[in-house]
């Protein structure tokens, strides 16, 4: 009887040991696979070809969830303050439109060589809250060409850009062109403020 108990105990220990070994082998394999991909150049980083679908989906979904988890509500005046919207337009037209276009306004052609591609933002305020838009503009997005604009723009300026984005769905191409014409002269060069990141 003592022998039988011992055999059962040994049997259990051996099964545990086998399980642990299997688990360890799995972990080592995954790490080795990861290192192999990193070290051998197997992953194609060229931006001239799109991501494979699952990688593209994973990156995009990660970005959306990361922003939603970190953004805080941004109260804007209701209705929007026209002066704030206009200040936002000035920054948007000069610094955002080349990559993001506008109503009737194309992106620069080279922008089509970016992955992920910067979206047109005409309906952006329908899919993101003002707080989320402000977060994206302020902090940028890793592994994209979207900079953290807090590096050279104050919070007040970035809030005005956010207000402009909220106003954008209602802006006709004609009105945008008129705003452009009215702002034709670039402002005098100013020393950029210290980073507000």
């Amino acid at each position: 009887m003592a022998d039988q108990g011992d055999t059962r105990g040994e049997h259990r220990r051996r099964r545990l040991a086998d399980g642990a070994a299997c688990y360890l082998a799995g972990v080592v394999t995954v790490i080795a696979l990861g290192l192999a991909i990193v070290a051998t150049g197997a992953f194609d980083v060229s931006a001239s070809a799109p991501h494979i679908r699952v990688v593209g989906w994973a990156l995009r979904t990660t970005m959306v969830n990361s922003v939603k988890a970190r953004a805080e509500p941004l109260p804007l005046e209701a209705p929007l303050d026209p002066a704030q919207v206009r200040a936002g337009f000035r920054i948007y037209d000069r610094e955002c439109a080349p990559c993001h276009g506008g109503p009737g306004v194309p992106r620069d052609r080279w922008v089509s060589g970016l992955i992920p591609t910067p979206p047109y933002l005409i309906d952006a305020s329908r899919r993101w809250t003002p707080g989320e838009l402000f977060w994206i503009v302020r902090h940028g997005v890793k592994m994209t060409a979207m900079p953290a604009w807090c590096v050279q723009r104050s919070d007040a300026e970035l809030k005005s850009v956010t207000a402009f984005l909220v106003a954008l769905p209602a802006l006709t191409p004609e009105a945008y062109a008129r705003l452009r014409a009215a702002e034709a002269a670039p402002p005098a060069a100013e020393a950029p403020p210290p980073s507000s990141c």
């Binding site: 209705p79 209602a170 008129r178």
Partner: protein
């Protein structure tokens, strides 16, 4: 001067249109979506458009109208507000001269009701 007023008007409706979509304003114009659905059938919109909630509407001359409650622009030209959509429904030729969509002989209230129905589509 004009620019400031234009921006003020823009900001006023942008807050509604930009944040909440056109549906919130629809009530303000007094459009009845239920009546609108009936009018869509009467005016034969189904002949050219696929329209959710309207059984026979499988037309393929113009674009499908699903999601019209969230569409930002009408015919790629004018922002999709209740006022603009009513005007488009009734007098499309004024907005897009020479286009496939004709002016339709209907009263303003009819066009508001139809626009109100379309703005329920998400």
């Amino acid at each position: 001067m004009l620019m400031r007023e234009a921006l003020a008007a823009l900001a006023a409706c942008a807050w509604l249109a930009g944040c909440a979509g056109p549906a919130r304003e629809a009530g303000a114009l007094g459009g009845d979506p239920g009546r609108g659905a009936m009018l869509i059938v009467r005016y034969g919109c189904a002949g050219c458009h696929e329209i959710p909630g309207i059984g026979a509407a499988r037309g393929e001359v113009g674009p499908p109208l699903d999601g019209m409650g969230e569409r930002v622009f009408i015919a790629g030209r004018v922002p999709n507000t209740p006022a603009n959509l009513s005007r488009w429904v009734r007098r499309a030729q004024d907005v897009l001269p020479g286009g496939a969509m004709p002016n339709i002989d209907m009263g303003e209230q009819d066009s508001r009701d139809i626009a109100a129905y379309l703005h329920t589509l998400r």
